[in-house]
Amino acid sequence: MMEVTSISEGIIIDHVPAGTALKVLNYLRIDPTTASIALIMNTTSNRYGSKDIIKIQNAPDVDLDVLGLIAPNATVDIVKDSRIVAKKRPRLPQKVTNVLSCVNPRCVTSTEHGIDQIFRLTNPETGEYRCLYCDEAAEL
C-alpha cells in the first residue's frame, strides 16, 4: 500500500458509508490485490459521523452508475499532478445491467441463459431497485 495521505494521479472516492469500502470496490470491479489502493475505513466525517475513503492511484474511470447504486452519497475527486482537478457525484441510475443478480428462484433469469440481469430504479427516494423481469427487490 502507498502512503495514505496522497496520490498523484487517480481518484479519491470520499463519503463511502463506513465499513463498505471493500464492497464498493467489488461492485466497481476493482481488484484490491492488484490495484494500487489506499483505504481509510471508519474515519470521522462531519457529514455522516463515520465514513470510508478510497484512494486509487492511476485509476481507470469509475462507473458512476454503479457507485450511485451502492454508495449514492459518495463523492469522486479526480486527481492529476497531485491536485484535485474535478469533483463528480454519482447519481441513482435508472437502470443497471449485469451488476446485480436476481435472487428470486422463480425468476426467469434463473433459467433463461443469455439474457442480461437488469434492475430498474423503482423508488428514487429510498434508492430501491427491482428486477425488470420479476419485480423482486434488489439485495445490495
Binding site: 433463461e112 423481469y133 420479476c134
Partner: protein
Amino acid sequence: MAERIPPDSQFDNLNGRSVVTLDDVSTSQISYLLRKARFISNHLPEVSQAAAGKILATLFYEPSTRTRLSFETAMLRLGGHVIGFSSAQNASVSKGESISDTVKTVSNYADVVAIRHPKEGAALVAAHAASIPVINAGDGGHMHPTQTLADLATLQSRFGRITDLTVGLCGDLTFGRTVHSLIETLCRFGNVRFILISPKELRTPQYVLDRITASESCSYEEVSDLTSVIGDLDALYMTRVQKERFFNEDDYLRLRDTYILDMEKLALAKPTMAVLHPLPRVTEISTDVDNDPRAAYFEQVRNGMLMRMALMSSVVGITLPGFAEDRPQEVQA
C-alpha cells in the same frame, strides 16, 4: 355524436405492441378496449372474419386449459387461425431451447403470441425477443393482464362504469396476484372504495395498500368478517383460501367457512351486487349461488374472451367492420 379524441391519443395506439403487464396499457387504451369488447359482444357475426389470415401462436409452457381456450376461441371468433403447444413436454423447450429462440422462430410463423410460462418475467423475455406482439397469458403468478381486463369488463358490463364503486375483495389477499392487479388498475381510474376482507394471515401486502393511499380518490378498509360488510358492496371479488397458506389445519378449518359465499350471506347483499371470481372455483362460492342473478363469474369468462378479442385485434392492427375507432373515450354498458 362523436367527441374529439384527446390530443395525446394520436400516440395512443396498441398496434404492434406487446402487453406484458397492464402498465403497458394506458387508461385511455383500457377504456378503448372495454368499448371495443362491448361492441364485439353485440356484433359477433360481423367481426367473425375480421382477422382472416391472421395466426395466433399459443405458447403454453405449462398447462392452463382455461386461459388457452379463451385465447384460441378469441382468435377463431375473429376468423383467424391458431398454432401452438399446451405444455413444455411437447415443445422443443424440453430439448432446452431458450424462450428467446422459440419466440424468434415463432415470429416467422404467426402474427401474435400468447405466452404462458411458470417463470416470473418470461413474457417480458419473449416480448424482447419477438418481432410480433406478445401477450402475457400468465407468468408464474407474476402478471396476468388479460385476467384483469376480464375483471374490468365484468364491472363495466354490470355497472356501466369502473369508477365510483365499493369493491370488496375477499379471501387470500396476500398471494392473490389477480387481486393486486385489479386493485392497482382500478386505482389508475380512481374513485373506488376497497373493502379488503381476509383473515389476518392473508392480508393485503403493504405495497398494494400504499398504492391505494397514493391514489387521492381511492380508499380502503381492512376487515376480517364478510357478513359485516357485504351489504355495503357494489361488487364482491372472491378468491380461494388455500390450505397450504396456513400453518396448521385448525386455523384453516376455522377460517375457511368465514370466507365461503353462500345464499345465507348473499341474502345480506344489495340486490344489484355483482359476485366475481377468477375461477376455477373450489368451495369458496357454494354452487346454489350460481343461479342468483348477482353471480357474475361465468359472465367474467365470456368477458375474458371478448377482451382478448379486443386486445388481439388491436395489437395485430386489424379494424372491425362497423366499429368506430376514434369515438369518445367513455364506454356504455
